[in-house]
Assembly symmetry: C2
Homo-oligomer: 290 residues x 2
């Protein structure tokens, strides 16, 4: 079955996706872009990256699955946008070969009972604010890897901690998949692209670029003292009347622990509510530059 035209194959079952993706005779690399759909220019940049990594003979697969296990009970799982026909068109136009769009029942059948926990990189930042979130992420990503069997998987740097957690999980569990992270795509005013930006009121949308401005201020502040950096970002974001800060933290960019003598880069990451909409962003700064 193909909704998206002759060039993109759409599968909804794990067995179908496995058959299609692991088809004997395929030669180039198989590259997976896991998404929750509601595709925007950020996702499309990941798909372009995947297309480049796959090369002319390789295969690009995109999964579209709003994963229930990574949402908390009070989060936006049910209202998360699901514009499936549009997503398929975008995939087709971007040169995707395979779209895997399973149902929750297909991914979590009766008596489902196995979860993957990463227990260090998951602890701070979004892990603290969203208990169980990375357990859901690790579980679904490992499932997608096992179903699709990619050589490479591409993730976006906006979800920096997600990439770090998945890298750790992949190393720890010896998953034979190379993880590639692609840069955050932004609106002209600096706001990081996110499917959740669609929830913002006009006024909140106008204020939201304060996040990026604050992170750039920190990057250019000429200090690597974490308390000073956090304070600076907090003060700048505090100038936006609708902003409610969830967290602002500066950590070692590799371990997501407190920076120490082995730290090479500092991550400054934040999560900020505008109304009920929670936005995240981050920036990396060299640690030893001063």
């Amino acid at each position: 079955m193909s909704l998206g035209g002759p060039l993109v194959k759409i599968v909804r079952t794990a067995s179908g996706a496995a058959r299609l993706c692991r088809a004997p005779g395929s030669v180039g690399p198989l590259v997976l872009v896991p998404t929750m759909g509601a595709l925007h220019a950020g996702h499309l940049s990941l798909i372009r990256k995947a297309r480049k990594l796959a090369g002319p003979k390789g295969t690009v697969a995109v999964s579209i699955f709003v994963n229930p296990t990574q949402f908390g009970p009070k989060e936006d799982f049910s209202r998360y946008p699901r514009p499936f026909a549009r997503d398929c068109r975008l995939c087709r136009d971007a040169g995707v070969d395979i779209v895997f769009q399973p149902s929750p029942q297909e991914m979590y059948p009766e008596r489902y009972s196995t979860y993957v926990n990463e227990e260090l990189v998951s602890l701070p930042l979004c892990g603290k604010s969203r208990p169980g979130h990375f357990r859901g992420v690790c579980t679904v990503v490992l499932k997608l890897f096992n179903i699709v069997g990619p050589d490479i998987a591409v993730f976006g740097m906006k979800d920096y901690q997600q990439v770090a957690v998945i890298r750790r999980m992949t190393r720890d569990l010896n998953v034979p998949v190379r993880i590639v992270a692609a840069p955050t795509v932004r609106e002209a005013d600096g706001l990081a692209l996110s499917s959740r930006n669609a929830y913002l009121s006009a006024e909140a949308r106008a204020q939201a670029p304060v996040i990026r401005r604050a992170l750039l201020l920190a990057r250019d502040a000429g200090t690597v003292k974490t308390a000073a950096l956090e304070k600076l970002v907090r003060r700048e974001i505090g100038t936006a009347s609708l902003a409610r800060i969830d967290y602002i933290e500066a950590l070692d960019a590799d371990t997501l622990e407190e920076p120490g003598p082995e730290t090479g880069q500092l991550l400054i990451a934040c999560a900020v509510y505008f109304g009920n909409t929670r936005l995240i962003d981050n920036i990396l700064i060299p640690y030893a530059r001063i």
Copy 2:
């Protein structure tokens, strides 16, 4: 490097094992037998099974790894037998192609932080007596699967719950490995083979076959009432002066939950201490035969 002769290749690193096991050009199935070493006739029957499943063109890999994460703090990790040279000879003589024998540091490097939890089938029986045991089992088995990349893995039925947990994990995480369970091998007097039998005193060894006798009595008792079956097994094992019962339970053999209308087979499983040595055994009986 080969300790075992020209026919068996021995590797100690995950990358080496992955290279060897996923070598391009191999045609037949790759069959893995995960063990903790101290091989006995039970393991050798698994290896024979694996050899048959692999066929003349396939590959049989045996992993030998005493996995620290599946032992509790007061359990026998450090004294668990490790007769590595003997194990390699046995593997060579049994027609094994590859032995993977990693160090704990190779499997659990610095900042190791990812674990796999099965949260239903793991709950009763050994899961109750050995908290964290199946978390360690699931984690190491998934790692071994990812390193070796087998088509099929063979486990022994003596560890019935282990097989059930691994089957569930494999289904839930879409692991593309077929799980095969092979029958328990026994001494002439009925005692199930186990590397831990070597710990038994002469007197305990003489009494230990009571476990099998008790399970056979239950099988032939002409009832499927779980309370009656458990009582019967408990009474019979109680006749052995050195036996200390850890658990005796009759459960649905598929779900390891209380039997119900959908139950096809009943599992009676038990764990019994003789001194510090904990032995397990089990038997299956048809549920609806009466």
